[in-house]
Amino acid sequence: MNIVLRLAWRNLWRHARRTWLTIGAMVFSNTLLVFMISLQFGMYGLMIDNTLQVFSGHMQIQAPGYKDDQKMRQVVPKVRPLAAHLRQELGTDLVSARGWAFGLASSEERSYGIGIYGVEPEFEARVSNIPGLIAQGRYLEKEDASEIVIGETLARNLRIGVGDELTLLGSGVDGSFAAAVVNVVGIFNSGVREIDRNIAEMPLGTFQEVFYMNGAGHQVVILAPDLDQAQALQQRVEAMLPADDGLVVHGWDALQPGLRQAIQADMSSAFFMYGILVILVAFSVLNTQLMSVLERTHEFGIVMALGLRPGRLGRLVMLETAMMGFIGLLLGALCGALFTTWFTVNGFSYPGMEEMVANFNLPGRVYPRATLLTMFAGPLVVFVFTLAAATYPALRLHRLHPVEAMRTN
């Protein structure tokens, strides 16, 4: 082993307790960082997936202005041929056309205002997970049947079940009165309160007829194979749209602006906390290394008098710190990984969390997502700050005068 390495290693264990305490501070912070970051990214992933896959998809083709106003007459004309065309051109099934209207749904006993979606029964399951969440009955089958599926809360509030009739009242695209009687064939349970309470789906063909859509719809939903490919796909779709229709493509962050911002807001407060933890560790290291340099003043004086350059001594101190930091990094990442893995298997929850996170379409138990990045990002930052903290004691050595130093005791 290199002599300098050996020297640094031995110096480190002169005060084993002090070194372990300093490493302890690192391990504590690292464990916390690994766990928190894994949990955070697990949550964000879930937030995005749940919100987008329940309904909005990775992108939507809409009439300009529809996103903000959601007015009936802001339509995508000939929506089904357009969706079919896209499916063919993109070579994917993850495309589905929809219409949306607001209406009053009345059962025998109750009436509620709800959002009614007209969907393509064969393709909706590719872009949304609602068809897969049918708790009773079945999902829609035919393009022009008088059927509807509704959310569980809505069914309870309306006091109806599968097989019952529901009357829909609303206004058509031209503002005229629209009404229909449809059969409830299925009830879904998405677990998201707002969706289960406010949403119904019926076949797009029937929808177009009831609301006088004249073949039009309001959105074409497209799902990319995964989130990372959404951007590229969006550009392809944009290039494919007929120029004269004036249709626009909105990406997921435009469709769900709250989602990205909620993540941003949460991230900034989380990073503030992480920053504080890292700074506290840095202080701890600074203190330790300052002590270790000060108590060796006499010794340093001697070796300097023997001809050792302050720069080399400084490197020695840095090396000691790096060794200490490295142990902290490894142990911290390890503890963090163990800790996180336990929660990855068992899920993480705390009392009251279910109510808290329901706003973000999250279930009451989340599973942290441990990746190499979440495992080492935090500990690496701690390591860098550890080294930065040690530069002050290391640089101080340059001001050391051998003779004076040897006199100190």
Binding site: R18, G113, G258, L259, I276, L277, F283, N287, M291, A358
Partner: protein
């Protein structure tokens, strides 16, 4: 007592013997304390604002409903006794403020669009202290009395409906026999609220007008009461419970909106966890500092013991030293927190993430809230935990064998 002063003086001098170490440790404690209080003030401010806004949307700290109403907010689930009787019971009972109202889901339709809303039939005079609508910040005018024939919509809703003050809209809901109950209204005012969701979902009409429209005679769906402080609604709750029988359900606001209720509880939990996490990160440095301080004066300690100082005095002296260190650090940290929060109290604009904050249920301006109880709690927790963390090094110091200690190099 005299002993205490002597020990304190000793401790203070020891502290400044190695001033660099003390200063580094003080900085760490100060930064930690600052972060504790700063973060807590921000979060507390956000949660307070959320609750204040939230309560203003579910106005009333204590509410009376039909037992079924909260699960099924239908016109069929009305308060069991008539509005006249309600007035007779509560008018002279000495409540800060109370009001009875009709609150049912409805659909509002303009020539262009329809939307689902919550219809509030109110007596504007009685609601003044509850309402989230600033009566003076209304385009047009607010309702003038329970018999007002006009309707007040949120500004955002009016935009979606493409309607404005002076135009007519139709309100549809159901009567107790599930017949459609509808009525035309002239829009008399548009209100503004902190959150878009509020502007989109609430519409106000006169209480008597609503009762006529819904054909529910002299009945209402809820009675609400205001206490002096939303944190402590028990006095009002108990008073209300004493005035009604089992035919209705009395609920605190925390039960009406479980999300907000949970948030308030979570806030205190979060605060404590945050303080403890920071303390733990600090504790390694603190213990380390004490271990070093003891180590470098083993000989002195041995000498004092040999001269007849009691081990308990050594223990006390080191504990005092640690407490002094913490206390000074805390004071600096508290001051820093105060100095950074004060200038921010007029509000921090976070409107770049407004949509995201809305998902949390929070507004886009953050008002930090420096709660003295939070400050006291964090200081006390640090002192107490700090005391226990210092016990081990102090104990070890007091157990030295004088002869061994003196001869130690």
């Amino acid at each position: 007592m005299r002993m205490f002063f002597v020990l304190s003086r000793l401790a203070w001098r020891y502290l400044w013997r190695n001033h660099r170490r003390t200063i580094v440790m003080l900085s760490a404690i100060a930064v930690g304390t600052w972060a504790m209080i700063f973060m807590t003030a921000l979060t507390r401010g956000m949660v307070d604002q959320m609750i204040v806004d939230g309560i203003s949307v579910i106005p009333g700290h204590v509410q009376i409903h039909d037992p079924e109403y909260l699960d099924d907010p239908s016109v069929n689930n009305r308060v069991a006794f008539s509005d006249t009787e309600i007035a007779a019971r509560f008018s002279d009972a000495g409540f800060t403020a109370w009001a009875s109202r009709v609150r049912v889901p409805a659909v509002v339709t303009s020539e262009r669009e329809s939307r689902g809303v919550t219809l509030l039939g109110i007596d504007p005079a009685a609601e003044k202290s509850f309402s989230f609508v600033d009566y003076d910040n209304v385009d047009g005018r607010f309702l003038e009395g329970p018999d007002d024939k006009g309707i007040v919509l949120g500004a955002k809703l009016a935009e979606t409906l493409e309607t404005r003050v002076g135009k007519r809209v139709v309100l549809m809901s159901q009567d107790p026999d599930n017949e459609i109950a509808d009525r035309g209204f002239r829009v008399v005012g548009l209100f503004h609220a902190e959150m878009e969701a509020t502007e989109e979902s609430y519409t106000f009409v006169g209480k008597h007008t609503a009762q006529n429209m819904l054909r529910i005679g002299d009945t209402v769906t809820e009675v609400v009461f205001l206490g002096d402080d939303y944190r402590d609604v028990e006095p009002v709750y108990n008073k209300v419970v004493g005035l009604v029988d089992d035919s209705v359900r009395v609920s605190r606001w925390t039960e009406v909106d479980t999300y907000l209720g949970t948030m308030m509880g979570m806030m205190d939990g979060f605060m404590l966890i945050w303080v403890i996490v920071i303390f733990l990160a600090l504790s390694f440095g603190l213990v380390n500092t004490l271990v070093m301080a003891v180590f470098e004066r083993i000989r002195e300690i041995g000498l004092m013991l040999a001269l007849g100082m009691k081990p308990s005095s050594i223990l006390g002296q080191i504990l005092i030293e640690s407490m002094m260190l913490l206390a000074v650090g805390l004071v600096i940290g508290d001051f820093l927190a105060w100095a950074t929060i004060k200038p921010l109290e007029s509000g921090i604009d976070i409107s770049v993430v407004a949509k995201g904050m809305e998902m949390f249920g929070a507004a886009s301006v953050l008002y930090p809230n420096l709660d003295i109880n939070d400050v006291i709690l964090s200081n006390v927790v640090v002192m107490i935990l700090g005391f226990f963390a210092s016990l081990s090094p102090a104990w070890r110091a007091s157990r030295y064998e004088p002869v061994e200690a003196i001869t130690k190099v």
